[in-house]
Symmetry: C2
Subunit: 741 residues, 2 copies
């Protein structure tokens, strides 16, 4: 047994951080039995702030930059990191955290909105590195491996979530551009050697404007493409006319949060086409007021508040008039009258489309009824898979969670593999001309004729990331004995470049006995679904966008949610990062704890991640006890799900702490029941007995504290002592656990 | 040059026979230039009757049995047969032909309806061999090769037929059983050696009834399957309820003419489920009257005529009442109020589904409007391809004849390859029990538990036919440089047996450079359609049912009709049969000739068949002149289509004879214009000039005779002299042609 193994458990923010106070002692106690140390790494917002000003704190002991250390660890083969959700701080969150830390006596500056002095500029620069999504990009040093854990899948089969029935006569469908979009203009090259490239705009007058300079690596794939603004508007108009004629509801599905440069523009065109009458009539006024359709109809409502009442009323009246010429729109909130076009972030394609497909292909109308819908997704590249699934459901009925197979995903994500999100290389054209990519010798590598209003973008994917992704797919196919399909569209320039690398890399792999194919998206999803309804699993091996889409789409059909998926990042250097859960760090949960001492946070993601982390440790360090801990933890999680011991949302009922107790109970029972490792059996038998004997007492102790407010001495930087007391209120449980050591 | 080549041109009946009087002299004159003799073979109804009584005719020269000779020729490598449509005689047609021949002085007996004497029995036996489909079965000694000729395809691209627009919001779909049908019960075996099998029914009491004894060949594929009558009725009820709920029109698509045992039963269940109220209420009365739902609702109307008016009215009232509980039904004739369920032969799936798909997925409602429709096709085996195409059209819009590719077919047809049409091996169960297939040793090869009302059937396919079919597919793929897909469903027992033979036979073939795949039906049609809309051709290599369905489905999309397809039967012995046209021998056309001397028959099928016949002669006998004649004929046919020189339906305008003149003109011009063969160039230049110079005169001569009745001295056995005069009225044209020799 190796005693040098170490699991890093990240300490983050809000609800996951609170849960950690309860769960970590259990994890430490169990892991110790296999000689595994569990260390925390503080990558919380407060921790990162303090680390940024370590030199100014005059602290007793030096504050280390734990994120930097962790990022360094991620590039070594030893990395075994359990990564909990953390805050991607907005400026208001950052300011609140600063104020709290200052109140706790830390000597840190305010956040300067408008830095003037050198000190302010320095502070601003340091805080900028803390803002936004600052953790994932530095830790995700690998591709993505996502799958439904066996326990979760078994639970969904036994207790299926609801699935709306599909009618063969459904009118719902996904509609997309047939030309003029990114798909139809995509060009792609592979760099024959490392070198500089320039992205240039050449105006009709011959003037050259350098938009961007980049250093590309040897073998890097570089794409360029554009969407025609004019054709996009024509397309929107056509879809609206079509819905008006057919009586099908209209809905828009984009991902303005993620594709944060291009999709708000696309969304804005939808708004100004739907409300064309209003945007034409008030063109000058709206410009004066600063109305931006890219921010949705709500931007109109906001900006016209400065106008006299009578003028506001006229505009509202004109908005209302638009509805008579336009088809009914899918609602986000039919009670509040909030439509699909209200704000750009309400309807996010990767969540909204699975929801629609799960609801019989329908969305909510303004009368609060589900209705057949045209799902408009202008970019055709990925939209086609939704139409394929809709046709499939029309033909074969809704998926059946009790019998369907599973679709794990291996996604190309390492080294910031881009397909969207190339925010620094996306441009909205302000004039007609030519966009081109030119190499250091002045050779034009790619070019497009563009018009004002077109959206042009470029994307980069690194050679090493692609090769690692291919090998990960082969490994996953081998380890799970499951066929794998590379989703590569032969009609897509980017995918053709990738396919060459995939084929070359596959030749280096041992493929004996494996079923690995390369197929276009339509064929790939179709075959995957045909297998799915016959109970068969198929690994989808995809680019970054399909990784994002498919790891919502299939899990929502299979499990009712994507939050229960295992999300592993096998790091390129050989280590592993195990991400837990999705959907942020749940500030509302903290509120409930402070007011009622009930934590509804579900640590299922942590249980699942920990099990894989233990199993991987077992394999990598030849530690059979670790493997056994992982296996028994999975069984315990399954039992927990079966026995309904997940946290309730209601104060007074079992909460996060109670579910941790049951996890410990079941885990100890599994270990006590197995005979593979008599040492572990003997070690855990007393704990299993103690917890089992005292179940009623412990549950009562955990329940007794609820219903009253508690103080944990902070929000972003809570007091560890106080918080631990709050999160570990059962003396009986604590003592039993302590007796294990 | 081989001078021994010979093309057999069949002499048949009615319009094609009349057209032959005009066309054959042209064909003979042109073919002679390549040393090819054109001989006729009289397989007309009259000819076959006379041959049957050759021994009793006391004719000057012996009347030969030309069909028998032709059938013999078909089994030799020399066969080169152009087969025109002929009469499949019904009894009334037979009697009319007999009367005419008797009037012409032939000593043949009457057709005895109820033969008593030995002479009558002998006559009945002889006439029985003349009745019905007596020609194709004896001549079709090969598999099927059907494709759109280049000239026809080019014409359709230039002058596309109308195609209804598809809406993405269309509610139309194809619905089929998900269990309980032939597909889900199919079993299949390959005979390890030749032997006898018995089809037996074992009752619940253990009684064994031998239904059929068969001698199977070594390697023969033998299938058995059944459709549950109970599940079929449940399925119909479900589809009716679904249409009632969704407001989509209901329609039934079967092939009661071809699957003449099983499909009338299926159809009958549809009738008695739709009109359940009436059939339940009048159960006993209908039985007494002999109402048979398998003959459609019209059977009710017919049979109740014997009842008193008041009772008739009551029943009609009750029929009418059914409509209020049932969904709207697709109409065959909305003016006359004739629905889909009126008679079993009105809606034939292989024609009705392409028509629906071509009409935006809609059929006619009772208000004379096109409406979205549920196309009910109980048997799922083939129905799925229509749903696939419907989904495809919803997603990609209607096919575009101006840009789409083509789908030639290589069909398994030889040696009566069965998939349906196993009329002698189809049984409707009258009791619960077991149907089984037992070999000579008493070993049970296949068995099914059945209930009364189930439809059980067996099918045979011969090994040699399958191997020939595979080789034909490879030959076609090579000759047309086109990918070929074997449509074999891995989930279908019959196809799995076939696949083994296909794979074995492919191994014997030179596949270098060919793209030959084996795919399930859904994947096959999907890939074919994806290629189709990109202008790419794909050969479909299918069994007998899909041969029948696909050679209507794709041609109707591509060409607007299946009548313009080349239909070749490469005979297993090495010869070739070239079938021309489809749709019978057109008695109405003859009527118009007799009354107005205008023949609207379009000989396009003959032109196309002749071109292939010439090309094949060229290849087989290394006769370059024949090849060139074929090539130039194809060009001439293309020009004829382009210049609108096909026959008009209107008397006074260009008719069949005029189109033959233009064919001769263009053909001669093509030959005069080419430089590949100077001899042929010199030979045809004067004819080209003569016909071109005299175009106006000849057209005028051909037009002048029209508008008056003519006498051709008979109908089934017209006078050759008189008919030839009628069909060759232009002296100028006749002289020019005569000068060629």
């Amino acid at each position: 047994m190796s005693t040098s193994s170490k699991i890093i458990y990240t300490f983050t923010d809000e609800a996951p951080a609170l849960a950690t106070y309860s769960l970590l002692p259990i994890v430490e106690a169990f892991a110790a039995s296999a000689g595994i140390a569990v260390e925390t790494s503080d990558i919380s917002l407060a921790g990162r702030i303090l680390a940024s000003f370590a030199d100014q704190l005059n602290a007793d002991k030096p504050v280390e930059n734990e994120l930097a250390k962790l990022a360094q660890l991620a590039t070594t083969p030893e990395a075994n990191i359990i990564k909990l959700p953390n805050i991607s701080a907005s400026i208001p969150q950052l300011k609140a955290a600063i104020a709290e830390l200052q109140a706790h006596g830390y000597n840190i500056p305010n956040f300067p909105d408008d830095p003037k002095t050198d000190a302010e500029k320095d502070a601003h620069a340091r805080y900028s590195k803390v803002l936004g999504s600052a953790v994932n990009p530095v830790l995700r040093e690998g591709n993505s491996d996502r799958r439904a854990p066996a326990a979760v899948k078994a639970f969904a089969r036994k207790r299926p979530h609801s699935m709306g029935k599909w009618s063969m006569a459904s009118r719902s469908h996904a509609d997309y551009m047939r030309g003029g979009d990114f798909f139809s203009s995509e060009q792609s090259i592979t760099m024959p050697k490392a070198g500089e490239v320039r992205i240039e705009f050449v105006g009709r007058d011959g003037q050259v404007e350098v938009k961007k300079k980049l250093s590309l690596q040897d073998g890097e794939v570089f794409d360029s493409m554009f969407m025609s603004g004019r054709k996009l508007r024509e397309f929107f108009e056509k879809t609206l006319q079509d819905c008006k004629e057919t009586g099908v509801m209209w809905s828009l599905h984009v991902k303005a949060t993620m594709m944060k440069v291009s999709h708000p523009i696309v969304f804005g065109h939808a708004v100004s086409v739907y409300y064309k009458g209003v945007f034409d009539k008030y063109h000058d006024l709206f410009r004066e007021l600063g109305v931006n359709p890219n921010n949705g109809l709500s931007s109109v409502y906001d900006k016209i508040k400065s106008l006299p009442d009578s003028q506001q009323e006229e505009i509202l009246h004109d908005i209302h008039d638009c509805y008579s010429d336009r088809p009914e729109m899918a609602m986000v909130d039919s009670v509040k009258g909030i439509t699909n076009l209200h704000i750009p972030s309400d309807v996010i394609v990767d969540a909204s489309m699975p929801a629609m497909i799960r609801s019989s292909g329908q969305m909510w109308g303004k009368d609060g009824k589900l209705k057949d819908t045209k799902a408009v997704m202008p970019e055709s590249t990925y939209a086609r898979i939704y139409q394929e699934m809709i046709n499939f459901c029309k033909t074969n009925g809704a998926f059946d969670p009790t019998t369907m197979g599973s679709v794990p995903n291996v996604g190309l994500m390492a080294q910031k593999a881009e397909e969207y999100g190339s925010h620094d290389k996306t441009f909205e054209m302000t004039a007609d001309g030519t966009m081109r990519v030119v190499d250091a010798d002045g050779k034009v590598l790619m070019q497009h004729e563009v018009e004002a209003g077109d959206i042009w973008r470029a994307c980069q994917t690194k050679d090493a990331a692609i090769r690692d992704w291919v090998k990960l797919a082969v490994t996953r196919a081998r380890q799970s004995d499951t066929p794998a399909i590379f989703w590569l569209d032969p009609e897509r320039a980017h995918d053709r470049e990738l396919q060459k690398k995939v084929e070359a890399t596959l030749q280096e792999c041992d493929l004996s006995g494996l079923d690995i194919r390369i197929m276009g998206y339509n064929e790939a999803i179709r075959l995957t679904m045909e297998r799915l309804i016959r109970g068969k699993d198929t690994i989808s091996v995809t680019g970054n966008v399909l990784r994002d889409y498919l790891t919502d789409l299939f899990p929502i059909m299979e499990l009712g949610t994507s939050a229960k998926m295992l999300s592993i990042v096998p790091l390129m250097a050989g280590g592993g990062m195990y991400e837990t859960g999705a959907g942020g760090s749940a500030p509302k949960h903290v509120q409930q704890v402070l007011e009622e001492n009930h934590l509804r946070w579900d640590s299922l993601g942590e249980f699942l991640a920990l099990a894989v982390s233990l199993e991987d440790t077992g394999i990598k360090t030849k530690n059979a006890k670790a493997t056994l801990l992982g296996k028994t933890l999975d069984k315990a999680t399954g039992k927990l799900l079966d026995n309904d011991k997940s946290p309730s949302r209601k104060t007074g009922e079992l909460d996060n702490r109670g579910s941790h107790f049951y996890l410990a109970l079941y885990w100890a029972q599994e270990l006590a029941a197995q005979s593979e490792d008599p040492e572990l059996q003997a070690h855990f038998a007393p704990l299993a007995k103690a917890l089992s004997d005292n179940e009623a007492t412990i549950v009562a102790e955990l329940s007794a504290v609820q219903g009253k407010p508690v103080d944990i001495g902070g929000y972003y930087h809570a007091d560890p002592q106080l918080t631990s007391q709050v999160m570990r209120p059962s003396a009986t449980f604590n003592n039993a656990l302590a007796a294990l050591a």
